[in-house]
Amino acid sequence: MSYYRNLSIAQKQIAWAWGFLAIPVVFYALIRFYPTGNAIVLAFQDWNLLGDRTWAGLDNFDKLVADPVFWIVFKNTFVYLLLGTPVSLLIAFAIAFHLDRVRFMHGFIRALYFLPFLTSAVAMAWVWRWFYQPVPIGLFNNFLSTLGIPQISFLNSTTNALPAILAPAIWAGLGFQIIIFMAGLRSIPQTYYEAARIDGVSGWTVLTEITLPLLKPTMVFLVVFSSIGFLRIFDHVFNMTTNNPGGPLNSTKPMVLMIYDTAFNGYDMGYAAAQTVVLFTVLLIVSLLQLFLLRSR
């Protein structure tokens, strides 16, 4: 104990800090960083889950570049990202902006919007799958037929399937985005709006020159957060196309689903790990790019 007593205050604080940090550090090292490193190594190896791991060099990456399915999947992933993020943020902002002014049953309406976020993605995907079925089962097609509009094949069409899956995915995340947007809107001092009212500027000017610039930190967070979400989309796709995951004809298959397929149906662990490394790199680049583009000057 005398050793501890002779430490300076700063040294004691460091000792305590590391004491508290020890458990998370061990946890992260064992559960996060070790498997991550292992996966990166595995990307340069061949392994069928049972046999030995053999060195393969860049073979897995060569195979990936030459694989036509990978390029379809790569494109699909970016379609999810480039459609999902802006559409979801626009809808979420529009709802939050107007909900902020609603006093009548405000809490109830907010809860309704937040509810999908609490719902299991699997359950939601199956309900939406049912919505999309042809007559006489599917809700949407039944509705269309009563109006006399021809049937739309949602999940069986290579062009319609991806947006049809994206819709519930956007809806699921909306509640969270609305709550964050509302918190951001609430943090803007009321006097800014009062001053603008006295200056007599238009509502559009207030929105574009005051509200949106002051919401920038909120938007940076949501753009990065939801982009990562859409790049990692999996459960909605998997559950809504369960007979032929990622189908029809790979038209809805995102990267995570391809990784899952390669690893647990093809047992080609090295190849799956190479895909993981690519996904990781894409996530990293997209996130850093967004942070760079949206940085405050």
Partner: protein
């Protein structure tokens, strides 16, 4: 330039009445200060004049127009807020120019106008800075600049100095007063600080619980307070209030020789409250009123505040800064009759 008139202004928030019929006329070019403790309705009155809030009943007139149903922008006013309300993401130039966005002026004219305002407020070299690179006083000036740039008929200030430190507040107080003397627009200024009110106003409006207590020049409200509330609110330290009795032209205080008071509106005999400001109650002097024991001294440099117990009541008096009495001394206190204020014991109104 315009006069402002409030006619029987009443405001309810739900069932709570916060303004009980405010009548006030502000002359063109006048610097008027609304002052009172928090919750007295001064800010609400200002917000109703600005149009940010509507009155429950009553009229607001700016110039010759009744503006009750006009949007703030149509009222030809500008407002400076307590937290300045300058936009953190815009440069000083854009902040000041924001008020001109809807003005029908050429771009060159707008730039020239912003430059002119910046020159008047001596912050030309700050125009390209962002608000977070400015000190509190400079931000305050940007907020004033933003109001000035539109050259409104009436300036409204909502406690604009409250967020500044004491020294800066004194300085900005003077700057605003000089600005008023220079541009001459009508100013309605809200504060809870009676010193600000006294130093800046042409006329002071003292409010309490949604009612106007007194309207008058700084001299009037200080020397002829309309009631006990005004007497206590204006002036620091607070006026001493002693219980007394009036009988046939003489005021009797406990243990004190009666003194003459030629008020006319009194009955033959009635209890009164006698007020005398510490500034007018001096230690020693020619006509000693009462004597007491010194409890505490507060030296202020040029003078010393002396807390004296007279018949169990503590009163504050002033002594010279150089030769104050000592604690425990028995001193005599004197005041001239014209500085003694009489108030009705029940209503608190001034007796004249």
């Amino acid at each position: 330039m315009a006069s402002v008139a409030l006619q029987n202004l009443v405001k309810f928030y739900g069932k709570t009445q916060v303004l009980h019929g405010i009548d006030l006329t502000v002359a063109d070019g006048e610097f008027i200060v609304l002052v009172g403790p928090s919750g007295c309705g001064k800010s609400t009155s200002l917000r109703i004049i600005s149009g940010l809030e509507g009155a429950t009943s009553g009229d607001v007139m700016i110039g010759e127009r009744v503006v009750n149903n006009l949007e703030p922008k149509e009222r030809d006013i500008a407002m400076v807020f307590q937290n300045y309300a300058i936009y953190p993401h815009m440069s000083v130039r854009r902040n000041i120019g924001f008020g001109l966005r809807t003005a029908k002026m050429s771009k060159a004219d707008k730039t020239a106008r912003v430059d002119e305002v910046a020159r008047i407020l001596s912050m030309t070299e700050l125009l390209d800075r962002k608000p977070d690179q400015l000190s509190g006083g400079q931000r305050q000036r940007v907020a004033i600049g933003r109001a000035m740039v539109r050259d409104p008929a009436v300036f409204l200030f909502d406690e604009p100095l409250s967020n500044l430190d004491a020294q800066l507040r004194t300085q900005m107080r003077l700057e605003i007063k000089k600005l008023h003397q220079r541009v001459g627009n009508t100013i309605i200024f809200v504060t809870h600080d009676q010193v600000e009110a006294m130093t800046m106003a042409d006329r002071i409006v003292i409010m309490k619980e949604g009612r106007i207590q007194q309207v008058g020049t700084p001299q009037e409200v200080f020397h002829l307070p309309a009631n006990l509330f005004v007497a206590r609110f204006i002036g620091a330290p607070e006026m001493n209030i002693l219980k007394g009795h009036w009988r046939d032209g003489l005021v009797f205080l406990d243990g004190v020789a009666p003194f003459k008071s030629d008020v006319s509106s009194l009955l033959k005999s009635q209890p009164v409250l006698v007020g005398v400001r510490p500034d007018h109650l001096t230690v020693g002097g020619e006509s000693p009123l009462f004597a007491g024991t010194v409890n505490v001294l507060e030296p202020l440099g040029s003078e010393t505040l002396v807390y004296v117990t007279v018949n169990g009541t503590e009163v504050i008096a002033k002594a010279s800064g150089r030769a104050p009495p000592a604690v425990g001394d028995v001193v005599s206190l004197s005041a001239s009759a014209e500085d003694m204020h009489l108030f009705d014991e029940t209503s608190g109104q001034r007796i004249t």
